[in-house]
Every structure is written in C-alpha cells, then in structure tokens.
C-alpha cells in the first residue's frame, strides 16, 4: 500500500507540473490554521430571540415538533406529556447528563446505559442548535452515545436557548473554543459530530416521502431557557 501512496502522490505532483495551478503550501497551510469562514448566509444573523424563533420555525418545516421551556426541571413533565399525546409508552432511554432531573414527579420509566434495539424513545442533549436550517448538533462523548440519536423510533432532544447559533460556522467556532485543552483538532473534535435536521425520511419507493426510514420517525425538540446545571 505504501507504494500506492507514493504512486498516487507522484502522479498528483506530475499533473501539477503539467498545468495544474502551482502549489503554494503556505497558502494551504494558513487556510488550515485560520479556518476562515466563507460566505455565511444572512438568514441566521439576527438577535437571540429571532434566532430561537427561526430555529423552531425551520425545524417545524422539516417535521420536527418544538416546545420551549423556562426551566430544565420542566423537562420530565414535558416528555411525559409528549409521549402521552403521541400515544407512546412512558418508557425512555435517557443519559447520565440528565440524571438529576425530577423524573420521579412523572410516571416515566427512565433507563440509562447502552442503547438497545428495543428502545422506543431516546432522550438526548444537543451541543447546539443552528437557526439557519433548524438543525441540531450533537457531539459523541460521555453521556452522549451516538446510537441513542438513531436507534429508537422517537427522539426527544434538549437544546439550551443560549446554544442556538445563527449558522454552522458559529457552531464550529464554539466547538473549537470549548475544549479548553488546545487548538489541535484532537482537542475539539468529538469522534462523531452529528447535524440532525428533522426526523429520518426516505423517498426511495416511488418517490413517496415517508418518515422514519432507519432513524427516528419523530423528533421532538425541547428548548430550555435556563440551561443544564
């Protein structure tokens, strides 16, 4: 394989001499270092309240349901209400991140730990929201198993109002800033960074749009104002 590596790189370099634009590795190097944003659509560049409204509006357009709560402690009641209204079993797979919420005020059966195929409802915490397209951003890590966003048929996702940004670039900026460890990608990139825009869908059979292809059929987004303690 190492010979193939050399073969490919040699061919790329040979093509350059034959007319490909001249490499300026300094330009390329500083592009990686600076990671400057390109053109950012104006749509998301609005104040906080308008950003939250735009986020909710865009998410609803792609078939998510959205509610906004003042306090994180209201989350268990809201999930119980949502499941009842959707006629779903009051049984959820949650994460350690939410273990201090007042679950006992509800009749919800709450489990944490590895997600399994029979889980019907997954409750997740998003790293951020993006107003531009009503997109949730989820990072893998402790208390945030990736499969929890995808395996259960219903996904309830919690996002803090302060973490709803206008555009994807602001998410990357905050991702790089939050590590507190360093500036190398290994310090800020999670193993899996998921952008989620609405529930799963497919139009592969006669172009009939159906929700719930492999991922969740329902996506319920809870925006909380006071954040996670």
């Amino acid at each position: 394989m190492s010979s193939s590596r050399q073969y490919i790189l040699d061919r790329v370099r040979a093509a350059k001499k034959g007319g490909l634009a001249k490499t300026d590795s300094d330009v390329a190097r500083s592009r990686l270092h600076d990671h400057s944003p390109n053109l950012i659509p104006k749509r998301g560049s609005v104040d906080k309240e308008a950003r939250i409204s735009l986020f909710a509006e865009e998410a609803e357009k792609v078939d998510a349901s959205v509610v906004r709560l003042k306090h994180i402690n209201q989350v268990p009641q809201e999930i119980a209400r949502f499941l009842k209204a959707a006629n779903l079993q009051p049984k959820i797979r949650s994460t350690e991140k939410l273990k201090n919420l007042p679950w006992s005020e509800t009749l919800l059966d709450v489990e944490t730990g590895p997600v399994i195929g029979s889980d019907g409802v997954g409750v997740t915490v998003a790293f951020a929201g993006v107003a531009e397209t009503g997109t949730l951003v989820v990072c893998s890590g402790p208390g945030s198993p990736t499969a929890l966003n995808f395996l259960p048929l219903t996904n309830v996702a919690i996002v803090e109002a302060d973490k709803i940004y206008g555009n994807y670039e602001d998410v990357f900026k905050n991702l790089r800033a939050q590590s507190g460890k360093g500036q190398a990608p290994i310090d800020y990139m999670p193993r899996t960074l998921n952008f989620i825009t609405g529930p799963s869908r497919s139009a592969d059979i006669e172009q009939t749009l159906l929700l719930g292809a492999h991922g969740p059929q329902r996506l319920h987004i809870i925006i909380v104002d006071d954040g996670l303690a």
Binding site: M1, S2, S4, R5, I8, L9, R11, R13, A15, K16, L20, A21, T23, S25, R29, H35, N38, L39, P41, K42, R43, V62, P114, V115, T133, S140, G141, P142, S144, T146, A147, N149, F150, N167, F172, A184, P185, I186, M189, R191, T192, L193, N194, F195, I196, T197, G198, P199, S200, R201, D204, I205, E206, Q207, T208, L210, G212, A213, H214, G215
Partner: protein, 471 residues
C-alpha cells in the same frame, strides 16, 4: 459491475420501451427540478455560494498532495489508518483484509458510489463475507441484483409493486399473504429486517461525501440515518472514498453542504450530516474500535491537469441527471455503468476508457441545462465536446459519422459551393414537405424520422431570404 456502455443503443431502445421506467422518470424530473428551484430561490446567497464551492474544490485540487497528506496525518492522530489504493483491486483487497482481521461475517453498508464503482459487494460475497446494503433504495436493488439507476435515488426505476414482489421473494420467513401494497408497509418491513442486520454486523462500510483535511474527518450525508447506524454499531468502521473528496476545513465543508442538498433534493439540508473522526475515544459509550479510510484513485489522477480536471469537483448531487433531457428519456441503466446522466457521460470514459464508453459523450443535446444547475459549476457540455473531439482525432467515432463530418467540413470551407449545395438541399426538402410542413421519411435520417417527423425547411436559404428582403 461489468460496464455495458458499449451496448448503449440497445440499452436505450429497451429503456424507451419500458413503461414503468418512463412513468418513474416523468415523476422524478417533474419533482426534483421544482424543489431545487424553490430551495435556490429561498437563499439569496445561493449563486455566490456556488462560486465559492467551485473555488474551494479548485483550491483543494490544486493542492491535492498537501491536503491528502494532512488528512492522513490527522487520521493517524486519532488512531485511525489510511489505506491508499491505486485501483479497484487494491481497494477491494484492502477492505477484505480489514474484514478478515476483524473476523467479519457480515458487513453493513451505507450507500457509496465508490462502493458501486469498485464492485465491493461482489468481491466480499466471493470471499465469503455477506455485504448488506442499508439505504432503502440500495437494499432493494441489491436484492434484485441491479445497479443503481440514479446516484441519489438508486431504485427510482422501480414501481412499488416491483418492490413488493422483490420483498416477497427475499423475505420468505414472513407470511406470504401479508399486505405490501403501500410504500409504508414496504419501508417498515425493510426497517425491521435491516435493524437486525445493523446490530449483528461486524464491520460497517460507508462512503464519504467529503473528507476534511483540517480534522481528518469523513462527512456523511443521508436522509434515512442508515449511515449513522452503519458506523456506530459495529466494531469496525471502514470509509471508502475517492481522493477528490477532500476539502480543507470544516468551514469549507459547510459551504459545500449549503449547495449540496439544495441542488440534490431541494432540501435546505439533508436530515443527517455527520463528521466521523477516528475510532471511539476511551470515554465514549459507543462507536467503533477501529477506523479505516480506503483512499481510492482509480484513474482520477489521470484526469488531473487535463481538460477533464474540473470533473473532479463533482459532489454527486444528481442535479445534472434531474435536468437532462437525455437522462429524462432513458434513465440511468442505459448508460451501462454505475454513473449516469451528464456527469456519467463525462466521467465514465475518463474512468473506464473511451473504448468502452464511446457512445456516452454523444448522448447529449448539449443544451447546457446541466452546467446551469451544477452546484460546482462544472462545464459539462464543454467536456462532452472535448471527448467528442478526442474521439474524432483518434478516429474512434463511427466511420459514417467521420465521413459525413469530413465531407461537411470540406464543403463548409468553400462558401460558394456551400451556398449552392445548401440551396439544393433546402429547395428539395422544402418541396417534399410543402403540403404538410413535415417530412415523415428521409434517407440517412431514419434515426430521426422513425420516432417523429422532420420539420420541413422554408424552401429558401437564409442567404436567399436575406437578399430578397433587401438586406
């Protein structure tokens, strides 16, 4: 798959006579272009974003060696591994070796055009490993042993009745009298079947919509979520990607994403966009323990530095297919390989050679619609013409076409003779079609007149009319 592009004419005849296919194509080309237009209109910056996306890819290609090495170094930082593959054989072998090391029996797979290109499924099967396509459309065509007919909607050519028949034949453990009339029932059956496969698989094989040099990440874009179950549940994640997928930074990826879904399905954003970087971390509750990227050339470096280099900007959105009058008429299978439409007609000769694919660059009216909708502004008509020119120069076009072109060129270079010949032809054709304005049969033009009438000319040449009107 073995290309059947040589049989393009026969393939086309079959496609035109296939009523199910024609109905599906009608629906497809009425749907996607309208949705694309709406999405583009909703974003005032769309045209400027196309320019920037083009520039990002041009920059990446101009510095390809640098970015590929950066990407490889970042993947290593994570504890992942990059495997460089010159061609399909090397890529298939690399994937097989990883699967064998993992003692894999089954491999779940999310849709990858590179996977189709190297025919990885056949290769794994031959070597005793079961590959399972998980994208709904790909799953259906895998059961039917067919290639995709559209790069983003692989089973577009099938009716729901055909899908039901396929499932009845494949899922024999289920009651034969179960109702499968509705697409919902079909989707749920596939979901249930594949769920078990996702959980049982030893290796997950995905493609990549992009590779990010800054972070060593692969980007996956799906609507179903199948890619996410493919990489997150098995113990090993393999990414198969061609080398032109590289972009420098996350910000550059964001720009490309803004034009990708809008051009493809008219969505603002596909449902799931994922950045995977290396294997799971120590503290992660789930994710693969091994992460491999198989980086494929397969003829792409041959296109670098040539008039076809710009083709390597392609992000496989399918917009050129959805807007192409030829694709709309014949669908994807007629092109005889895994790619189709204008992008296929340019790329296929570049990858498998003009000898195999000589008809494809000629299967275009050069109307220019493809270039006008391409998010990466790839000059597809110019490249189709470039292939035609090469064919002519290398004497690869048909002898009769060459003879007629040479004759025409000889006459066209002599203005007096040209006008004289033209006047004779126009007068004759004008006389033949005088009554109806149409001509229903012409020697040497049976290809045209067997399907539709030829409009009769006015009987006088432009030059004559110009003189008459005192020009």
């Amino acid at each position: 798959m073995e290309p059947t592009s040589r049989a393009f004419h026969d393939n086309t005849r079959e496609a035109l006579a296939d009523a199910t296919l024609q109905a599906a194509l009608g629906k497809l080309t009425r749907g996607f272009p309208v949705k694309r237009r709406q999405a583009a209109d909703r974003l005032p910056e769309f045209e400027d974003l196309r320019d920037q996306a083009r520039d990002i890819k041009n920059h990446s290609l101009a510095n390809l060696d640098f970015y590929l090495q950066q990407f490889e170094a970042r993947v290593s930082d994570w504890g992942g591994q990059v495997h460089w593959a010159k061609d399909s054989e090397e890529a298939c072998q690399a994937i097989l070796d990883i699967c064998r090391n993992a003692n894999a029996k089954t491999v779940t797979k999310s849709k990858s055009m590179i996977g189709e290109e190297i025919a990885i499924n056949d290769f794994l099967e031959k070597n005793g490993i079961e590959p399972i396509e998980t994208d709904l459309g790909e799953y259906i065509i895998q059961l039917r042993k067919e290639p995709p007919s559209h790069i983003i909607a692989p089973a577009i050519h099938l009716s729901k009745e055909q899908v039901a028949e396929t499932f009845l034949g494949a899922h024999t453990d289920l009651p034969a009298d179960r109702p499968l009339e509705e697409p919902r029932a079909l989707l749920e059956e596939a979901r249930e079947k594949l769920r078990q496969k996702f959980i049982a698989a030893d290796v997950g094989l995905t493609g990549a919509n992009m590779l990010v040099a800054e972070t060593g990440s692969n980007v996956l874009v799906t609507n179903e979520g199948n890619a996410d179950l493919t990489y997150s549940l098995p113990r090993v994640h393999i990414v198969i990607a061609s080398l032109e997928k590289i972009v420098p930074t996350l910000e550059d990826a964001a720009t490309v994403l803004r034009v990708l879904a809008r051009s493809a399905t008219g969505q603002e954003m596909s449902v799931y966009t994922t950045f995977c970087s290396g294997p799971k971390r120590l503290e992660d509750p789930d994710g693969p323990e091994e992460y491999h990227v198989v980086l494929l050339d397969n003829g792409r470096t041959d296109l670098l530095g040539t008039e076809f280099q710009e083709m390597l900007r392609c992000i496989r959105c399918g917009a050129c297919l959805n807007h192409c009058p030829v694709y709309k008429s014949i669908g994807g299978h007629a092109y005889g390989w895994v790619y189709s439409g204008p992008m296929g007609a340019v790329l296929i000769p570049g990858l498998i050679g003009m000898n195999e694919a000589s008809h494809l660059p000629n299967a275009s009216t050069l109307c220019g619609k493809c270039e006008s909708v391409c998010p990466m502004r790839i000059p597809l008509p110019r490249m189709l013409r470039a292939w035609r020119k090469r064919q002519f120069e290398r004497k690869q076009s048909s002898p009769s076409a060459r003879l007629i072109l040479s004759l025409w060129a000889w006459v066209a270079k002599k203005p007096m003779l040209y006008r004289f010949v033209n006047r004779q032809i126009i007068a004759t054709l004008g006389a033949i079609g005088k009554k109806t304005g149409r001509i229903s049969w012409l020697p040497l033009a049976g290809g045209w007149t067997s399907k539709r009438d030829f409009p009769a000319p006015a009987g006088k040449t432009f030059m004559d009319l110009y003189k008459e009107h005192g020009g």
